[in-house]
Symmetry: C2
Subunit: 564 residues, 2 copies
């Protein structure tokens, strides 16, 4: 029997994984990997840390854990895969089952027959139609050459001025890298907030932290024009007319799937512009699979199609595609829940599932709980976590979890991601048996506390309001009675200054006379994290007040300006 040939197009994340897996599953197969770039299997999520100087040896981005560079020789010897770099595929002929390629260094062309083809062409940085975008000094952060250029620029650019266009994940990671290198950084974001995977008030907490590190963030404003001197960028002009000096600019406003080859071959393309695949990562041609940033996935919560250009998923998709290409369709890829995590100076910002806004957009009737608290007991050097848990109001199913702060976000969001995938409900989470010891978490884990708050809200025991809603009421000039139930010492240290009355919780039962006489008056209670605020609500309800709500997350989650 003639051995099978499996051709893989693309050598970044999904491609190498698919190729290596295919060969392991069928040692008789000939597996060929075609890669346009000079590098293979790049750890592209590590680029910001290379630029920021966490390490300076670029080989670390393309070597195995034992230090062997993943070049064609490595792929041949260790993986049994024939990898051709600087080789651009120019056409797929699905009828003849061939791919045509061109060698970029020699202009030599050729073609290869395939039995099964796996397309992993990735994505390209979105280029905004801004005048001056061709000037030197303006780059995306996408290819290894971009990382090399920015590593070089950052190393020499102390005190120089950097503009980052786009306040998403890569923009914020690059902003930290530049700031670490001593550049004067401004992030320009067209939307009203950075990190769109977070709800606005959560993103605001991260924005405050970035600004506290000396980085300038401009939201609600875009770049209208890049201005140059001698062919090199020297300034940017914003939509509102402001001009900012600029020595280096990074454009990080997202990516678009690379689908030209697939489209020309007649394969189905989805409505978000990615290659259409079924649950087996198979395209509309049964002999062609696709994986990675070039495909559209299913959102596991909404069932809708979505783009999810994440390196971790690319690997998992490539593994599934290879398995099905070799063995026939047997392995299933269920899609994404949009889990993500991002280091932001001393903060971590992370998400899994749907934010409140996205859940509403998807048509869910949503309940949420904001929770500010410590990641471990105070005596173990606790740090703050602020999170927001989102659930379906009808069923209590966990839909999403966002969390930011200096505390141990990584564990919290990982356990939340598994719970979202498993379709667990708030009631399941409220009695979860999670590992506990003081160096690692609180006796009642932050995530479980969030479930308790949400359970209390769903059972009508607590009525909450987000700080964003409170701010809107303040801005609208609504007359409210704000009750801060912290201690005088805490109040002296931090004070919102929104017209609040201070009555410590322990004194509340004996100081009812200081509250509004009208039992229907709107009262909003809070404390440092709003646990005591919640207890105050119980006391006031019991005293006959009918319109008391708790400002969730209290002072620690308040992202707006405060008096002190």
């Amino acid at each position: 029997m003639k051995s099978k040939r499996i051709v893989v197009i693309g050598g970044s994340a999904a491609g190498p994984k698919a190729a290596a897996r295919a060969k392991r599953l069928d040692q008789d197969a000939q597996v060929v990997l075609l890669q346009k770039d000079p590098e293979l299997s790049m750890a592209s999520c590590g680029y910001p840390y290379y630029i920021g100087g966490t390490f300076d040896d670029r080989n670390q981005l393309i070597c195995t854990p034992t230090g062997v560079v993943r070049d064609p020789g490595f792929f041949a010897k260790a993986k049994g895969v024939e990898a051709m770099v600087r080789t651009e595929v120019t056409e797929i002929d699905p009828k003849a089952k061939t791919v045509s390629f061109s060698k970029l260094d020699s202009n030599e062309t050729g073609s290869l027959e395939y039995d099964k083809l796996i397309i992993c062409t990735g994505a390209s940085p979105r280029v905004p139609p801004i005048p001056g975008r061709e000037l030197a000094g303006i780059t995306p952060l996408h290819a290894m050459r971009d990382a090399d250029a920015l590593h070089e620029a950052a190393a020499q650019a102390k005190g120089k001025k950097a503009i980052i266009v786009g306040g998403g994940l890569i923009g914020i990671e690059t902003c930290e890298a530049f700031a670490e290198k001593g550049l004067d950084v401004t992030v320009v974001e067209l939307l009203p907030q950075i990190l769109m995977f977070l709800d606005p008030e959560m993103a605001k907490l991260v924005e405050n932290h970035v600004k506290a590190k000396g980085v300038n963030i401009i939201t609600n404003n875009g770049v209208a024009e890049f201005i140059g001197e001698n062919g090199h960028v020297s300034a940017v002009k914003l939509n509102d007319g402001t001009t900012l000096p600029c020595d280096v600019a990074v454009v990080a406003i997202g990516v678009v799937p690379n689908v030209r080859l697939a489209k020309d071959a007649g394969l189905g393309i989805g409505k978000f512009g990615g290659i259409e695949v079924n649950e087996f990562m198979q395209t509309t041609d049964p002999d062609i699979y696709a994986s990675g940033d070039c495909v559209e996935l299913t959102n596991r919560i909404t069932g809708q199609k979505t783009l999810a250009p994440y390196g971790d998923l690319a690997n998992l998709e490539g593994r599934v595609a290879a398995e099905n290409a070799v063995k026939g369709n047997s392995s299933f890829f269920p899609g994404t829940i949009h889990s993500g995590i991002c280091k932001v100076f001393d903060f971590t910002a992370a998400t899994t599932g749907l934010s409140e806004e996205r859940a509403r957009q998807a048509g869910f009737d949503v309940v949420s709980a904001t929770n500010a608290g410590l990641d471990r007991p105070g005596f173990m050097g606790a740090k703050l976590l602020v999170s927001k848990m989102v659930a379906d109001a009808k069923t209590g199913r966990l839909l999403g979890f966002q969390i930011v702060g200096p505390g141990e976000v990584n564990r919290q969001v990982a356990e939340a991601a598994v719970a979202v995938m498993a379709g667990m409900s708030i009631n399941d989470l409220a009695v979860a048996d999670l590992p506990y010891a003081p160096p690692y978490s609180l006796a009642i884990d932050h995530f479980i506390t969030s479930a308790h708050i949400l359970q209390n809200k769903m059972n009508g025991l607590m009525t909450g309001v987000t700080n964003r809603e409170v701010k809107a009421k303040l801005d609208a000039g609504e007359k409210l009675f704000f009750l801060d139930v912290r201690s005088p010492e805490e109040f002296a240290q931090m004070e919102l200054g929104i017209g609040e009355k201070l009555i410590p919780l322990g004194a509340l039962r004996s100081k009812m006379s200081e509250l509004p006489e009208d039992k229907n008056a709107e009262i909003i209670t809070y404390c440092k994290i709003s646990m005591r605020g919640y207890e105050a609500q119980q006391v006031l309800h019991h005293a006959g007040y009918s319109n008391v709500t708790v400002m969730e997350g209290g002072v620690m989650a308040w992202p707006y300006g405060r008096k002190k």
Copy 2:
């Protein structure tokens, strides 16, 4: 209507939680908390860190995050709960619905009627029947007074000799605390291994680490006698006749539920000696609930009853008991999966669900995968993780996950715990969408890699063998061909010395002649972590070798002596 009276016996973890929750749910109720000890709501899991000097202010163990000591005044004012300390309950009369108590400081006695009673009497340290156990200087670590005594002893005892009887969680945490304080520590464990929640070869890795920190660990040996001088312990005599000098001894061989009151009241007691409760945390008397270390829970995986004396569960049980006591049975406590985590010097050791041994004991047909790997990319300062994933061979359901090492164990075991609770299968985990960025994890998370290994084993793609099985074969003098496929540089640094042949993976296809001629010879392959070992197995299978297995976890998971 007369207001309800809810009486709670016990003021450590479950009791205060139940009392506060009951009052929040029914502000009209009178809630009384009776506590024998002088303290309330102690963070008892923090005792080892107080002894070890992470902090020296004992109030930190009994205060709120804002620094208020949780004394009766605090409970009255902030929680609306009447707490009576140094008050021992002497009898429960379930017919009259009263509890009798005695005030320990005044010998005053009294009784209280209850509408609902919640028993949270906790557990007591198991006292072994060892001669000399009454000598001064021998203590358990259970009550706050024990922690105070050991904090004092440790602070003055630099260079003195400590014996810890029992190599469980508390024994190992106390051993670290003493070692941090400069004591010369020996742990004596009757069983063949420490940390029984781990399989033996995993526990051995932790034992090696503890020993490397200068602590002596003696397994398979018990204390036969404590020897005293002037009423103070001066030495211990072991079962094998060895005598060790000893200035301070801690006995930490587990706890027994405190059920005397419940038993005398005629309540059902389970076969493990804990109070019998149903899924509502209700005892055999419908007006009496129970929570915390005094009850028997259901193991959520096996369905069998079990003791689970963990502070985090006590809180969750107390919350459920209070809810049902106030509102009628509506809130469900499903039981435990025995999640646990433990800091061991620079290691963390953690578990969730069943170990391989316990799964077999429970009657499961088990498959497991040992995985050694990094917690994040090498360029981000990666650290080692060694884990063992256990699944049901028939269904692929995740049954348990153990993990040890210097790396980021906390996230791994927390996500595993959620997956065990949710009943997820290996196939679910293999395509999980977990948060990824280089500071926090690998592109393919360690936990997912474990699922991939297990999936490969279940699909017949890989045949594995544990290092424990390999050691048994070596000890039995079996003739095997060991194939180490690392590089010569790696081999020069670390060498098992079990008669292995070194052929780097990249050279394997061209060096087949160095392998046994007999294609049925038993060959065991490995590398640093056994990824290359697995790839070598594929190559050898393809070359016609029929009896090749991979030693899972490779050199990094090998817990026995090695040549270099």
